[in-house]
Symmetry: C2
Subunit: 95 residues, 2 copies
Amino acid sequence: MSNDLEQLRQQLDSINGQLLELISQRAEIAQEIGEVKNKQSINRFDPVRERKMLDELKSKNEGPFEDSTIEHIFKEIFKASLELQEDDHRKALLV
Amino acid sequence: MSNDLEQLRQQLDSINGQLLELISQRAEIAQEIGEVKNKQSINRFDPVRERKMLDELKSKNEGPFEDSTIEHIFKEIFKASLELQEDDHRKALLV
């Protein structure tokens, strides 16, 4: 294994860790949003807001990923967040 | 729209932007790794390394996402990175 590769892999590991932290922070905020929405009986899934976030991300995207790839990755994150909110809601109903 | 919700959404937008930056940085490093591997004729897909990264992420995961969700999201990022490396390789062959 060359040193180059080893160094690049260490950078990747560091970014993985930072991504995990941000994704977890994002999930916590999504949970708070879910709670606010429950109290106000607002639907948790908001396709207009989701489209707006995706458009914003694509307008900021400078590569190397294609816009379609960025959209795909973030849709997975959005979907996971929505599932989390729905789990929380189910748990709240069971209390 | 309540102020609470508006504020939480602003936090989410800020994190989305940070995630985009990190995901793009990660993609650039993956591209560099792809180049090094091409020069050394190493296979770009390395399932052992991928499993190691996923295990590392799951060991660090403190929620709120389940380990399986973290694994799913990161697998999508890994897959996109591999596709990027393969595109680069194809382009390099065409030059």
